[in-house]
Amino acid sequence: MIHIKDLIKQYGNRTVLDNVNLSIESGEIFGLLGPNGAGKTTLIRIITMLASYSGGAVTINKLPLPAEAQKIKALLGCVPQHLNLDTELTAWENLELHGRLHHIPTIERRQRIDELLEYVELRDRAAEMVNTFSGGMKRRLMIARALMHRPKILFLDEPTVGLDPQVRRRLWDLILSLNHQGLTVLLTTHYIEEAEALCQRVAILEKGKLVITGRPADLRRKVGEYALEWADADGMKVRFFNERSDAVKFMNSLDTNTTIRNTNLEDVFVELTGRKVKD
């Protein structure tokens, strides 16, 4: 569905994306993982045509970008990291504006607004100005807005950043239910648990380069299924094992408090880059 080949983005002499190659298939939730400044948002901005690129090629549904920009725009729904709702309009008017900009016929548009406000549980707040909304409500409204024109691909840039855990869980449920309805989702996150809870495949970006791509379980397996953690005079140590019995055997050889746990994508990231995702 989305094919990215040798993508380069430079700001002057600074390379923000360095020969990125990526394919995202129809119907999957794909996660772009990496620390702040890794290039995740830039990649999304390029695909959504908010930013240009310096080299390489991007095709969406076999349509080249930016040559087929207008056709591609109809396929994409975008929820940026920053809250960019029109604060001078109500929730209903924000959706109405989006519907008009995407040329949805009036009757269908009005039905779709009602349907989506119901879906994101904001129907009773439809007539209120969005600057009275909480962060979670704004984020849900932004998702509703991005879905107005029935896009084929939904881009979510750090969808739960700054939200409390309960609201985050509600958004996860919303994203999963959209995916079950057939929507392809590309999301960026630096929350490991978010990527593990939602994504069927992830790509890890570090300093503009694609470090690795794969299913979370496969990536964890590359490092080892189990992580043994302990502390010594130099700080926290971690070692990975494919078999739990090996981890236990090694644990018994240590004369200190230890923890055995399942490895996660954070471990994968640290092993591959030597950095933490939230660095």
Binding site: M49, A51, K73, N84, D86, L97, R100, L101
Partner: protein
């Protein structure tokens, strides 16, 4: 394209309509002060070309006011939308053309400029001005609003902070407000300054409005210059909108 232009206007009208009363009231303050100070106060002792200073100054105030209102109606919110609220992205990712967006914004700017001008015209008559408001008068006013709304668009896309926008006002609009035949004839300016202000659009708007308000035909050169500026700013705006991707 027409549907997209209508959408852009629809949004801006919705916002304006919500505070139309406040907008009209706030637009009355400066004109009343100008009319009292220059029309009644200073104007009662001055005659220009055998007519009252009030009749001379009202077209100038209209040109000046429509310039500021139309410029700021587009410039300030668009600059904020681009840099701070990021709401411009909603239009960038929508399948609408750059020209639809620019034209829509300019028409919104014209709308505010014309409403504000209507307020001044009513006030001017209340203050005793004797003007003719004919088709030519409206045409010049419309061109003035349009070209400064377009300039507001260009400035909003060019300036990278709120402060830079304020500076644009200070260095470009404020000097024009005082020098471009608004309060006095440009004949009284030193020769070099006279020629300089003659190439500025506000001078032609003031002069053409003044002629039209006295039942004359505005000079074609003035209409041409105002139209020329409009075309250039419109073209620049469309180009900027097309190349906004960074």
């Amino acid at each position: 394209m027409l549907e997209d232009i209508r959408t852009v206007i629809w949004r801006d009208w919705l916002v304006l309509n919500r505070r139309l009363g406040r907008f009209i009231l706030s637009r009355m303050v400066s004109p009343i002060l100008y009319l009292v100070a220059f029309g009644w106060g200073l104007g009662s002792q001055i005659q220009i070309g055998g007519g009252s200073y009030l009749d001379f100054i009202v077209p100038g105030i209209l040109a000046l006011n429509s310039m500021i209102i139309s410029f700021n109606a587009v410039g300030t919110p668009l600059n904020m939308s681009r840099l701070y609220h990021k709401t411009l992205e909603e239009y960038q990712i929508a399948p609408i053309s750059a020209s639809s967006f620019v034209i829509g914004k300019i028409i919104s700017g014209i709308m505010r400029g014309i409403i504000s001008s209507l307020v001044i015209i009513i006030l001017a008559f209340a203050f005793g001005a004797t003007l003719t408001i004919n088709g030519w008068f409206w045409l010049v006013l419309l061109l003035n609003c349009a070209l400064f709304a377009a300039l507001g668009f260009v400035a909003a896309m060019l300036m990278n902070s709120h402060e830079e926008m304020a500076n644009f006002n200070t260095y470009i609009l404020t000097p024009m407000s005082f020098l471009c035949a608004t309060f006095f004839s440009t004949d009284r300016l030193p020769l070099i300054l006279h020629y300089l202000v003659e190439i500025l659009p506000l001078t032609h708007a003031s002069q053409a409005l003044r002629v039209a308000s006295q039942n004359g035909y505005p000079p074609w050169i003035s209409l041409g210059i105002l139209s020329g500026y409009l075309v250039v700013f419109l073209g620049l705006g469309v180009w900027q909108m097309r190349h906004i991707r960074n």
